[in-house]
């Protein structure tokens, strides 16, 4: 088991390295002239040229990548003399539009995204799995039909539409909640909850639909398996048969999907953050597209990709925990 995890971590690091290179090369291939974009409204050819040297854009892609990579461990100084900017290790690049290190920008936005993602995750996982089990047990009954029907609608709703509809009714028409204004929970817990509750619910409903369907089909499959008959033949009460024997056997695909969904959400729920004006990674990404800042985009992309890779690793380790047969091979 230890060797397995170690091997997976090594592969993960290698993958991250390759990925960062790919992201870096991809962005450097874009036709946009970064030196011009970062120079602001009043711009002379001279400042552009200066920017070019400061950003290291006069060097080859490989050299630029090396500078970027080494900056993570030893930091980096952009330019020389008076106008030099020092980005201390770990340095994930420097945003010239915001005059801040990219990492700091990201870390500043990360808690919002984490709160949004985790809250919704807990809601949709519990809700989806419970509804899925219930639906499977009432297979063919009206409860099952109602749940699968609603799940299908939820599954096919576009998030921007659903989000806007909810804002229109709950906040504007019925005025149940005030307009969203994000505060960190340690600053203003009431305001935090009032702002987050709608995006949580919207995300949860959108995702729960998928988990209801997945759990239902998993349960229907495992409930027909021989060991479920054995569990019943042992005289176990139905709640143990379903809650323990059937659920655990059907858990693997749910864990996979949940891990990857959580990773995706941690990369920022771009549309919902924009709709509910939450200062998370998603809105950071959007603002660095509308007000172009390539270093922020590279940073956010890398962080998101890292979440996905870590989620994959965690999911695989969870597999081995759930299914002893995985441990053996």
């Amino acid at each position: 088991m230890g060797a397995y995890v170690l091997r997976r971590v090594l592969i993960m690091l290698l993958l991250l390295l390759l990925l960062s290179f790919a992201v870096f090369v991809l962005f450097s291939l874009l036709p946009a002239d970064v030196a011009r974009l970062t120079c602001g409204k009043i711009c002379t050819d001279q400042t552009i040229e200066l920017n070019r040297i400061r950003l290291g854009l006069d060097k080859s892609v490989f050299e630029q990548y090396w500078l970027f990579l080494s900056a993570i461990f030893v930091g980096r100084t952009y330019g020389v003399g008076e106008g030099a900017v020092v980005c201390e290790a770990p340095c994930l690049g420097w945003s010239f539009t915001k005059s801040e290190p990219v990492l700091e920008l990201i870390l500043d936005r990360l808690p919002t995204t984490i709160f949004l993602a985790l809250g919704a995750f807990v809601l949709f996982l519990i809700g989806g799995v419970l509804l899925g089990i219930y639906s499977a047990l009432r297979r063919g009954g009206w409860q099952d039909k109602a749940i699968t029907g609603v799940a299908l609608v939820g599954y096919s709703l576009p998030s921007f539409f659903f989000g806007l509809v909810v804002i229109y009714f709950v906040i504007i028409r019925w005025q149940i909640l005030p307009f969203p204004r994000y505060e960190h929970p340690w600053d203003d817990p009431v305001q935090f909850v009032q702002t987050m509750i709608l995006p949580w619910l919207v995300l949860a409903i959108l995702y729960a639909a998928f988990y209801t369907r997945l759990t239902r089909s998993q349960m229907l499959e495992t409930l027909g398996d021989d060991y479920i008959r054995t569990a019943r033949a042992k005289g176990l009460p139905e709640r143990t048969v379903i809650g323990k024997h059937a659920l655990r056997a059907g858990l693997t695909p749910i864990v996979t999907a949940a891990g990857l969904d959580l990773a995706g959400l941690l990369g920022g729920a771009i549309i919902l953050e924009a709709i509910f004006s939450l200062p998370g990674l998603g809105s950071l990404a959007i603002s660095s597209v509308t007000n172009p800042d390539q270093s922020i985009l590279v940073g956010v992309t890398l962080i998101t990709a890292t979440f996905v890779i870590i989620a994959n690793l965690v999911v695989d380790i969870l597999y081995a925990y759930i299914d002893p047969r995985v441990r053996a091979s």
Partner: protein, 332 residues
């Protein structure tokens, strides 16, 4: 019911489906005396496994309609509350299945599965239950049970897994053990071990056994009494000797003569029953076996096609569902 430990009377099991109702069991009646072994023989679709699951109360009430009587030690299980039957499962009556690999939960250690079986019925501590589990494993001939108890099912061989299933079925000392094709998924050399083990354990514990199988060799080895099922009905019932040496139903006859045998020199050609087993949704009229029966011409007035024969007595304790049986002891 005097003398009988298990008595099944007029058992019917129907499964309504979109294509029509599947009449899986249609009026099965038999009884098993305490400590003896009854075999239910039949091919797939004969209703033998459904009969077993109906006795155990394992059929999904949302899918199956069960009627009739199943008396276990005088109590009618079909009249009991589902939760009372649930409490009898695994304690008073147990069951083992065909495929021991898929019948054990792949994610739990065998010890945990045994402990669970103990603790659902007995008020004992976890460590006591674990000791009982190790004891149970030792009794079914698993070497080094103290270590094996922590294995997962996939770490054991097929024969060992079936031993674990037997240990689990017997761990609460049931009075009735139903074995549904217990050796079909095993190699012959392992099958011989498992049969020996089951008979040995029965001798020690006096457990009443119902063995469900398609293998007439296994029946010859294990059972005292035999029910032959076809198309959801019991078509012949008697002692093993009655069934093998005084066969009275043409289906049983056909079954016996189509088994490839190791022991006697026969013509290369086997003598099979022609045709295919009937659909349980649209059963043939009259005798369910008549479309495949070779003795049909011996019955007058095309009776086989129009009238379903009763189970008639061939000799005391030996009955057959055939118009050729005159009910006074004459065989066809």
């Amino acid at each position: 019911m005097t003398g009988a430990f298990l008595e099944v009377r007029d058992l019917h099991v129907d499964f309504p489906t979109d294509d029509g109702t599947v009449h899986a069991v249609a009026g099965a009646s038999f009884s098993v005396s305490p400590g003896s072994t009854m075999a239910i023989v039949g091919e797939s679709g004969s209703g033998k496994s459904v009969t077993a699951q109906a006795i155990m109360g394992l059929l999904n009430p949302r899918a199956a309609q069960v009627s009739g009587h199943v008396f276990l030690n005088g109590t009618d299980l079909l009249e009991c509350e589902p939760d009372d039957v649930r409490r009898m499962r695994g304690s008073v009556m147990s069951m083992i299945f065909q495929d021991p690999l898929s019948s054990l939960h792949p994610f739990y250690r065998i010890g945990d599965q045994l402990v669970e079986a103990v603790r659902v019925h007995q008020n004992v501590s976890k460590s006591q239950a674990r000791d009982m589990a190790i004891d149970g494993l030792r009794r079914v001939g698993i070497p080094a049970p103290e270590r094996r108890v922590d294995d997962y099912p996939h770490q054991l061989s097929g024969g060992m897994r079936q031993r674990v299933m037997i240990a689990m079925a017997l761990i609460n000392g049931p009075d009735l053990l139903i074995a549904d094709e217990p050796t079909t998924a095993l190699d012959v050399t392992v099958q011989a071990q498992i049969i020996d083990l089951m008979m040995e354990l029965q001798e020690q514990t006096g457990t009443t056994m119902v063995v469900i199988t398609h293998d007439l060799g296994v029946v010859a080895e294990m059972a005292k009494d035999v029910c032959v099922m076809y198309g959801g009905r019991i078509v012949e019932h008697g002692s093993t000797d009655d069934i093998y040496y005084r066969t009275s139903m043409p289906y049983t006859q056909g079954l016996l003569s189509s088994v490839p045998r190791l022991d006697e020199v026969r013509s290369e050609r086997l003598d099979p029953i022609p045709g295919n087993p009937p659909s349980l949704i649209r059963l043939p009229s009259g005798c369910v076996f008549h479309p495949r029966c070779r003795e049909r011409s011996r019955v007058e007035d095309d009776l086989c096609r129009t009238l379903e024969p009763e189970l008639l007595e061939v000799s005391p304790g030996h009955t057959a569902r055939c118009h050729l049986v005159d009910g006074t002891g004459g065989a066809p």
